[in-house]
Symmetry: C2
Subunit: 272 residues, 2 copies
């Protein structure tokens, strides 16, 4: 077990957004080595079909397994929605998605029993969050809305300005119209935590009661710590580290730092 515990944690995502999950895992588990794979050549998964997303996810997990990981985190919400069960069935290591941890935290936070979910087209179309929430509590009611403008907004760095507010008012306004009593919104996309302060303010203006924004990245890091702890696979020494691999390196320097919260060194371009 000791030998296995020293192996890295593998985290993959369709692009750079999953670095928000890396950041949460590094904060929670600072001794762990992390190998991150961003499939930036084929980003985004959010507008692609289930079979395409599964195929790409299998290529990513094969790459991570070849690098000897002890646990895999599917940081991409769309891949968690479409591919997680298949990956869990076919892979020899534990596989965690971001959907179930986010759903658990949403349930813990809601008082009205009415939960909102925002994400990419793929995540919303997959109905992964409504299904995960229903499995945990059949009485909860869920309203979901795809928000395809939020990813480019985060990548532009327009995190809190007139344009960001106009976009947020439109999306959250539609949520409010459908579900005025919702009190929790799950940020069902790895890019959205960057927009959190602005989304939080716009939500407060529109709903006129407290709305908790649930960040799946934080919830997933907690779930990873539990999964490793239960299996006695937590590293008990070492200073941690991150190796970042991408399938296309065109934009990585521009935007990765914003997602990770500090500068990103040690980037490798790989083919899957």
């Amino acid at each position: 077990v000791r030998v296995v515990a020293n192996r890295p944690i593998g985290i993959f995502d369709s692009g750079v957004g999953g670095l928000t999950v890396v950041r949460s895992v590094m904060e929670r588990l600072p001794r762990e080595e992390i190998i991150y794979l961003g499939d930036t050549a084929r980003v985004p998964y959010g507008s692609k079909s289930a079979s395409t997303v599964l195929r790409y996810s299998q290529l990513s997990t094969r790459f991570l397994l070849d690098h000897g990981v002890k646990l895999i985190i599917v940081a991409c919400n769309t891949a968690s929605a479409y591919a997680l069960e298949a990956l869990q069935a076919e892979l020899p290591v534990p596989v965690l998605g971001v959907v179930e941890p986010g759903a658990r935290e949403a349930l813990a936070a809601t008082k009205s029993g009415r939960v909102g979910v925002i994400g990419t087209l793929g995540t919303v179309r997959s109905e992964a969050y409504p299904r995960a929430l229903a499995r945990l509590d059949a009485s909860v009611r869920v309203t979901a809305r795809a928000c395809p403008l939020l990813v480019p907004l985060a990548e532009e760095g327009w995190l809190d300005d007139e344009v960001a507010e106009a976009v947020a008012r439109r999306y959250l306004g539609e949520l409010r119209q459908e579900a005025p009593d919702l009190d929790v919104i799950v940020l069902g996309c790895t890019h959205y935590p960057l927009l959190r302060p602005m989304l939080s303010r716009v939500a407060a203006q529109l709903f006129r009661h407290e709305v908790v924004l649930v960040d799946s990245a934080v919830a997933t890091a907690r779930a990873a710590a539990s999964a490793l702890g239960e299996r006695s696979l937590l590293r008990d020494g070492g200073g941690g580290g991150l190796t970042c691999c991408v399938t296309d390196d065109a934009r990585i320097g521009e935007v990765a730092t914003r997602f990770l919260g500090h500068e990103l060194r040690n980037i490798r371009r790989v083919d899957l």
Copy 2:
């Protein structure tokens, strides 16, 4: 030659946006058979590197050649920017991009000699339009701005509303700050013609003089007609037709109609 003339025209794009080029070609050349390939499984190309875009473009053109096309139009601005010269060198049929026709039309329209270009990150980073314009007229000055929010805006169908205006004011305002005397803006992305009326109005408000918006799709259809005419490869009979192939069919029904201008039948899912 007669036999070759009866072959289809091949048009490829990273996604559904190239259907605006299909539409222009159908209007200009109503007797031609068209085979369209949208690489929707890997859309968008706009944020990917030159080598990745070239690799994907080669897969697309191989598919079209296997279907016996007489001419290939690279409808994707990013692929035109990164892959056109390589494709022209290695393929046995004429290959047209959208950049050069758009650049020609921009030069014909400008009086101030100052031209703006808007497009995806990839198209702008490639500097394909500035280089094409400089080849045609060394004295022209070009200001380019990547506008990553415009594609999701077009796909949402938010073509002319408060959000669209706020986004356009931001992007065009930055163009104006850099080049207040520009009088032509090239719509350097297949999605942008859908936003044309709104962009045109916002440009008029900001610049306070006439700004011509150049649609590369229309210019490219004209160039295709010339290329086929010169080679005596125009069909002289037949009622035309369109076969549409996509590498992922998740969204095609939702958005294709908006781009093509009429309902899209005859869609095939293909693997490259």
